[in-house]
């Protein structure tokens, strides 16, 4: 905003009609008859507006509060009872499906206690099992064996080497311990999710039954009319 020869805008003067002008603006209004005249017009306008009479009241607006109590908006559990009921039925359906799945998919043989025992077995614990595998000499004891095998059995060094070789070639009777442990851990996580979902759905279903079905029956509001 530049003062001096430039005039104040109408919007500035309109606001100044009810405000004390800052010193530069006041100085301009003092020196500029045109701006001062317009400023006084706005002051006259505001002054006239402030004397507008209030319209006469057509009646008293005091009302009997008891007459409008019935218009009080219904509680939330009444207003949302239908969505709550639908959600409850959905939760109950999923709950039944999950419980059925749990019964079918988790066989009794894979009880948690057993699996925990399997997990606890370390590779070191499995060593005796591997040593229990018979050596060639033991395997052949009391039976007719090939001459080469007999020669191997006669030499302790050769026997030791042969045993080692034989042990590495004999396949283990079960999964390697590491792999077995991993599969069991995944199973435990799956069970955790399954049982957690069942617990959550049970809570939702019970709450939904209480809030969506039982509460509207027991504490039905007298009137659920909304305000116009």
């Amino acid at each position: 905003m530049t003062l001096g020869t430039d005039h104040l805008s109408d919007e500035q003067l309109a606001l100044l009609a009810t405000e004390v002008p800052e010193p530069p603006l006041a100085a301009h209004l003092e020196s500029c008859p045109d701006c001062r005249a317009r400023w006084q017009e706005y002051q006259a306008l505001v002054s006239a507006l402030r004397t507008l009479p209030r319209p006469a009241l057509p009646r008293d607006f005091v009302f009997d509060p008891q007459s409008v109590v019935r218009l009080r908006s219904a509680p939330w559990w009444w207003r949302y009872r239908f969505p709550i009921r639908v959600a409850t039925l959905l939760a109950a359906t999923f709950l039944v499906l999950l419980v059925t799945s749990a019964l079918v998919l988790v066989p009794p043989s894979t009880q948690p206690n057993e699996r925990v025992t399997g997990v606890a077995r370390s590779p070191a614990a499995a060593v005796p099992t591997m040593h229990a595998t018979p050596t060639l000499a033991e395997a052949g004891a009391g039976e007719e064996v090939a001459p080469a095998v007999q020669a191997l059995a006669a030499s302790p060094a050769a026997a030791t080497e042969g045993t080692t070789t034989a042990q590495t070639t004999v396949p283990p009777s079960s999964l390697p311990p590491e792999e077995h442990e991993t599969s069991l851990r995944l199973g435990a996580a799956g069970r955790f999710v399954l049982y957690g979902a069942i617990a959550v759905l049970t809570i939702v279903t019970v709450l939904g039954l209480v809030i969506g079905f039982l509460l509207p029956l027991v504490r039905r509001p007298q009137q659920s009319t909304h305000l116009p």
Binding site: Q12, A14, E41, L49, L52, R54, P55, D60, F61
Partner: protein, 208 residues
């Protein structure tokens, strides 16, 4: 309930079930709320309905009232209801928006003929404003609310209140300037100095 009771104490009493306290609040503000609604809507019948609705809404929502200014709260409820009515009136053009009738309180002293003419001119100019500007002028200039309270009622920033008010005053002045009789009335009722009035005439003749 005496007139000296503060709004806060009346609201607290009404919340605790004192019906006389709420009646006192209604009596205190019904004139203001009705005047604002009539000027916003230009229709006394619609304003009457909206004022009643506003007080009923306020009563039913007392538990949710968290502020300290009951006046601005109930004005805000009424203003929102009035805006809804205006929108509905625009959607259904067969409901005409009438000009605010020039009814005055019977207890008011008889006014001069000039003043009646000025009031009519001002009411006409007010009714011609866009609703958002009219609301600001009615609250600040006619009813004397502070910028901050008007902003609270209208739900807009104080800066917006000021800019709308400035634009509305410019429009009002232009409307009155276009009506030579209104200018004369401003001078006759002592609100405009004679030299300003003659300066206005000079500007008008220059423009011609």
């Amino acid at each position: 309930m005496g007139t000296s009771d503060t709004d806060a104490s009346l609201v607290a009493a009404a919340r605790s079930g004192d019906q006389a306290a709420f009646a006192a609040l209604v009596q205190r503000y019904q004139g203001l709320v009705f005047a604002v609604c009539v000027r916003l809507l230009g229709d006394r019948d619609a304003a009457e309905d909206i004022v009643q609705e506003a007080f009923i809404r306020a009563y039913l929502s007392l538990d949710r009232f968290r502020g300290t200014n009951f006046r601005s709260w109930v004005l805000r409820i009424a203003h929102n209801a009035a805006l809804d009515h205006l929108r509905a009136a625009r959607r259904h053009p067969h409901l005409p928006l009438e000009r605010a009738p020039e009814q005055r309180s019977q207890s008011e002293p008889a006014l001069q003929v000039e003043q009646h003419g000025l009031i009519a001119a001002l009411e006409t100019a007010l009714a011609a404003l866009p609703p958002e500007q009219r609301a600001v002028v009615v609250l600040v200039d006619v009813e004397g609310l502070a910028y901050e309270e008007a902003a609270e009622v209208l739900g807009i920033p104080v800066g917006t209140v000021k800019s709308r008010l400035a634009r509305a005053r410019v429009r009002l002045r232009a409307s009155l300037e276009a009506d030579p009789r209104a200018r004369e009335l401003l001078v006759l009722t002592g609100r405009l100095p004679h030299d300003v009035e003659s300066a206005g005439h000079e500007r008008a003749s220059d423009a011609e």
